[in-house]
Symmetry: C2
Subunit: 503 residues, 2 copies
């Protein structure tokens, strides 16, 4: 392929503004009857009131206590009035802002946001193999996030383990703000680091404090420690994010049979109770703080205890979570996922199944939508590219179809004789350039041509694509300016030895 053709093709890959704000193409599907959803909600309320939830952070417990919850040592028992009030004050719709205003995301019923695979300690690609994540991998993952419009928010795809943990938050923020103009992610690793991260975003975006805290400019993910526990960093993140008006995405990680009951309905009950407890905390701190209801539920293999993804049970968990979110009237988050160790048919199959589960459930945020491998232990660059094909297909589906009289093609139907073809009709010539989705990694050539060209599979072909995208990546216009605005802050913080991580 000539150099110029490669350039043309790569630029096609990287931008499709119509994919920047998606709406669900399908209506939400039900797993359970409305009465059983209410039964789960009521049992979750009973769990919070009678069994309670353990909250390890003193400050968070104090907030519950001051609001009237009963606190016994680390256990917090939350009455229905507190939960009801919290649900009532959570915003039903809001905008997640971005450094580039064309990347802002409206969050409301029917909206669909794809987030990259996140939280992976390792990175893997076909040439470099599997290794502990480093800063270079983290940067490359961010460049990939930035390069495809169908990825809507940034995520910590690869943990930069080569950066000391007390300084890591500086690089996590700096790289996101320099390399991308999409909404950044902040780890909830304790008061000190969160406070510094929020300050870096505010400075980089050149916002005064009131403008920053009036709307969300970033997000964090809060995983409860199922069953029935909120640990210190998670409790602190809930408080800090609510106070700053930033977005907390509440995600109990309920694996049926392990940290949750073996039944899907039971796992949903636990997940719902934990999500309600966390949501309540945010609204006690600041009524109206933006928060997503969420869940990441699946099952384990009962022989080995290994987590499974893309299973019927994960799809059922997504469907049930969607029903519970709509019962509350709240926007919500779900996840794709796979347990596969390499980008093979298992990886694709599980990821597609889980993804379709989130679509059937009408999740507003779909996390781990591209690049996740090994149940999140590794971020795969070829997996990321292959997963984009699915996301771009969904994005194309979410656009309205032309069904005008002209699209019904009466003239072309009359013009082509029986057994003929439509290639040369005016109807085709006027439309063929934009008619169809252009695949990213799929090879449509026949077996002979494919074999002659090297017979490479989608895993192998994806290597070329991510390498080319990285090679042709160009930073967003204001990236360096944002970096410059936080350079001194980071230098001073580094000089002080950084910020402690809360255990």
């Amino acid at each position: 392929m000539s150099r110029s053709r490669r350039r043309t093709r790569a630029s096609t890959l990287q931008a499709h503004p119509a994919w920047r704000q998606l709406r669900h193409p399908f209506s939400p599907q039900a797993l359970l009857q409305a009465e059983r959803i209410e039964a789960i909600h009521n049992m979750a309320l009973r769990v919070l009131q009678e069994l309670g939830i353990r909250v390890l952070d003193d400050g968070a417990r104090d907030i519950y206590r001051q609001a009237g919850a009963q606190v016994e040592e680390q256990m917090v028992f939350i009455g229905q009035e507190l939960v009801d009030a919290a649900i009532a004050s959570v915003p039903r719709a809001f905008t997640l802002n971005a450094p580039d205003s064309t990347r802002c995301l409206r969050v409301e019923p029917g909206s669909l946001v794809f987030g990259p695979g996140a939280g992976c300690p390792n990175a893997t690609d076909r040439l470099g193999g599997r290794r502990p994540g480093c800063l270079a991998d983290y940067r490359n993952a961010l460049k990939l996030h930035q390069s495809f419009d169908v990825i809507h928010i940034l995520g910590p795809s690869v943990e930069p383990q080569d950066v000391p943990v007390q300084l890591r938050h500086y690089e996590l923020m700096r790289q996101q703000l320099i390399l991308s103009d999409k909404p950044p992610f902040v780890y909830g690793r304790g008061h000190e680091q969160v406070r510094e991260c929020l300050e870096m975003i505010r400075l980089a975006l050149d916002l005064d404090e009131a403008s920053f805290s009036a709307q969300p400019w970033c997000y964090t993910v809060v995983n409860t420690n199922s069953p029935r526990q909120i640990d210190r960093p998670m409790g602190q993140a809930l408080v800090d994010f609510a106070r700053a008006g930033q977005l907390s995405i509440i995600t109990p990680f309920c694996l049926a049979g392990a940290m949750a009951p073996v039944t899907v309905a039971g796992a949903l009950t636990l997940q719902h109770a934990e999500a309600l407890a966390a949501i309540t905390l945010t609204q006690l701190v600041r009524p109206g703080a933006p928060v997503l209801y969420g869940g990441f539920g699946s099952n384990v293999d009962m022989r080995s205890g290994a987590p499974a993804f893309g299973t019927p049970e994960q799809i059922q968990m997504s469907l049930g979570t969607g029903q519970l979110a709509r019962f509350l009237g709240l926007p919500w988050r779900s996840s794709a996922g796979t347990a596969a160790n390499i980008p093979d048919m298992q990886a694709a199959g599980e990821t597609h199944m889980a993804l379709w589960g989130t679509l059937m459930a009408n999740a507003n945020f779909v996390f781990h939508a591209a690049g996740w491998l090994e149940g999140g232990l590794s971020f795969g660059f070829e997996k990321f590219i292959n997963d984009l094909e699915a996301l771009q297909t969904i994005a194309s589906l979410s656009r309205p179809l032309d069904s005008s009289d002209d699209a019904l093609a009466w003239d072309a139907l009359g013009e082509v004789p029986p057994g003929g073809h439509f290639f040369a009709t005016g109807h085709t010539m006027a439309r063929y350039r934009e008619a169809f989705y252009q695949p990213l990694v799929a090879d449509l050539s026949n077996f002979g041509s494919w074999q002659e060209a090297g017979g490479r599979n989608a895993y192998e072909r994806a290597t070329d694509i991510w390498q080319r995208v990285l090679e042709e990546y160009s930073p967003p216009p204001e990236g360096d300016a944002r970096g410059a605005r936080i350079a001194e802050f980071i230098a001073l913080g580094t000089g002080r030895g950084g910020a402690a991580v809360t255990d």
Copy 2:
């Protein structure tokens, strides 16, 4: 793995009676507004009336003419009254019988039937490579169809090219009737072969003529030659199957941009017109003859003309076809598919996308659901195994979920302390064996264990599975008896030199 454990595991793979008759887990989704569906229907009627359809078979044309259609040379112009009468007489629900009565399939709104990848001239597997299909491959494919309950009907997965074409129908029928007890497939290769095939089925099942023709015991697929043409073997098959009360599955193969207009709405219009023409013929022959409305629509790559599958356009075609079928009130057929040349992420991705399109569209028959590669030019044994994982996942989803109070797990939630696990609770112990779908080919082990065990991908692992299933295959109880009942018929026919194929 010990021999005895392998046996136990293999028998688990092969039978799951709950999967023998499925219902759709999701409600049908709309692509277009009802008014536009009606517009497509009306334009299709206009196509039949004003543009006409070319019918190559003299006998089929005579039937249209005798019913009042205008015939000019090979062109047939069909008025709306004929179409309306035909739609009114097509059965809305029926049973497709099988040699084993537990394999009979109820076809009605909401029912879901999976058919294997079909019509492939080549076979391919990881060890044997890609080769022209032969009788041994055809037999092995049938054994695989028979071994998994989630495959509901037989299909011509691999063409036995080593059998002379005038004798091939004997082996196609004999092998299906001996090796399986699921509903067999008959190729529409002209009056002579079809008549002999139907007679072989009647003899093998030991039915008198009235019992045979009272209900469908087999099916054929009729592909129109888009645009606007029904060739001789297809026309003859429509007539023969209707006359014998057997099931015709009408399938225009409309690739937008090539044999159909470049717009999805235009391709749907053409597909609908062709399907209505073929359905009308069947009902003119015998009102009430069982027939499925159908379509297999996708798009081509406009640069190369190559067919594409699993695309947004294929999903849209499925959705629109479903709406048109429901507009008519008829059961209908759709297809999965992939253009990939090997079982890789592209193969899995496209197949899952296309499959989910058929689910969203609530297709009653989903063809090419397992094993299809290269847009149908090859049947892949490892592809078949991997696709089964998806079908079994869907089958599991179609079973009702336990949401009883007991499933909500109050006792277990109280029994497990915060941060604990549910492995040992009574609630888990009572349910863990049957709690979750057991994957067929997915490997859930962690990276280290997986690597230590050889680091094999899903393509490689599937080889073991199909080999084991073939090794442990046992023929159905009455298979040999069915074979014996047609042995003389086949010997006599072979002695006469077989039966001609219609061009």
